[in-house]
């Protein structure tokens, strides 16, 4: 074997070894490295009451309701499988609308309601001009695609 081929073999072995090692590490990290729980992972994992966590998902259509004090809102965050009640007191971000994505900082209370301290809006991967949003077919298709998995 020529030295050039030896070096090539060594480089290839090193690159493959690195990739495998990092894939194993990343696989082990898969839960810890997530920025938030989805309603489904939250229900699966039995998170302790009062523990500071984040919850992310889609705001369910028609679920936002204001409490009597006028600054507190209740809404449902959902993914494909599960729903989670959320309560938040404060000013909501501009992009916080029904059917859009949201990530909330907070904790679960005794009644299983997620009490949010801050809300971050989450934009999905679809970029659609405002004029086009009335076209039903397109909207329906995008909505289906944008549900957090």
């Amino acid at each position: 074997m020529k030295p050039k081929h030896q070096r090539l073999l060594l480089a290839l072995t090193a690159v493959i070894g690195l990739l495998v090692a990092s894939l194993i590490a990343i696989n082990a990290l898969s839960d810890e490295a997530s920025y938030f729980y989805t309603p489904a992972t939250l229900h699966d994992q039995d998170v302790a009451i009062g523990k500071a966590i984040r919850l992310g998902g889609m705001v369910k259509q028609g679920s936002i309701s204001s409490a009597r004090d006028g600054v507190t809102i209740n809404f449902i965050v959902q993914d494909k499988d599960q729903q989670q009640m959320v309560r938040y007191t404060g000013v909501t971000p501009n992009l916080f609308v029904e059917g859009s994505g949201v990530v909330a900082d907070g904790r679960l209370d005794q009644n299983g309601v997620f009490i949010a301290d801050t809300l971050l809006a989450k934009h999905d991967e679809n970029y659609v001009p405002r004029e086009l949003q009335d076209i039903d077919m397109r909207d329906a298709q995008n909505l289906e695609k944008s549900v957090v998995q």
Partner: protein
């Protein structure tokens, strides 16, 4: 050793070392301005058109216009390190004489584009998400890319010879490439505030009215990036030539003196 012997060694060295660089310089000299001005024209055209005429996005409103600069910066920050990794392998395996010069030329530009990607992303995040920064998988892995660039530049500068790069630096260039698939997959593997990929092999979820100027802008910035890499490579080759000439002059004076 006689003078003739020195000349022969020098000649062999020159042929081996400069065969490719000479051909490269011949190509790079006219290409540099062509790429730069074509790129500039495309960027100005695409961004001007995009910023003036893009309709408001359904949810993002007019901040959607950030896409025309943020995406090219991200693409070139990632593309830059991919280039460094390929050049590093070419240096380690084939000892290609231009590989280390190319990798070294890319590094600071890649670092600047990574920084611009983070800055424009942060400015876009505030009105969109409601925060400048979060430690999710995508943002964190891109920040790591920026730090990897800084580490590469420091290592390359620590190499003893100007224009040359140590093998350690090349190995670092290859290892750092592990971060590239991590950046790409970060939004798939881990739940992140950053949205998933809009443009994939199977298509795009960006409306055509944004996609066309975006594509032209990415192309334009890529041409500018390449032309700056060429400028830096030409400067590095010129530096090597000067160094070699100075060394030869010093040797000749020494020979006359003795």
């Amino acid at each position: 050793m006689g003078h003739g012997c020195y000349a022969l060694i020098r000649k062999n060295y020159m042929i081996h070392q400069l065969a490719n660089p000479t051909r490269f310089l011949k190509l790079a000299r006219p290409l540099t301005p062509i790429l730069f001005y074509t790129g500039l024209l495309l960027v100005l055209g695409a961004c001007g058109w995009g910023i003036l005429f893009s309709p408001d996005e359904k949810l993002l409103g007019n901040t959607v216009k950030f896409i025309y600069i943020h995406v090219p910066f991200a693409w070139l920050a990632i593309g830059g390190w991919t280039g460094i990794a390929i050049a590093s392998i070419a240096q380690l395996v084939w000892r290609h004489p231009l590989a280390n010069i190319a990798a070294r030329a890319v590094a600071p530009i890649g670092a600047i584009f990574a920084a611009l990607c983070i800055i424009t992303g942060s400015l876009w995040a505030k009105p969109t998400w409601g925060t400048w920064w979060v430690w999710d998988g995508r943002l964190t892995s891109v920040l790591i890319l920026f730090f990897l660039y800084l580490g590469y530049i420091a290592l390359a500068n620590a190499s003893s010879e100007k224009g040359q790069i140590s093998r350690v630096t090349a190995v670092y260039g290859v290892i750092g490439a592990v971060n590239i698939p991590i950046i790409n997959r970060s939004v798939v593997w881990w739940e992140s505030l950053h949205q998933k990929a809009s443009i994939t092999l199977t298509g795009s979820s960006i409306d055509g009215v944004y996609l066309l100027p975006l594509f032209i802008s990415v192309l334009g910035f890529s041409l500018i990036f390449t032309s700056i890499v060429f400028m830096r490579m030409r400067a590095a080759l010129a530096n090597i030539k000067i160094e070699a000439r100075m060394r030869r002059m010093a040797e000749d004076t020494h020979e006359i003196g003795s």
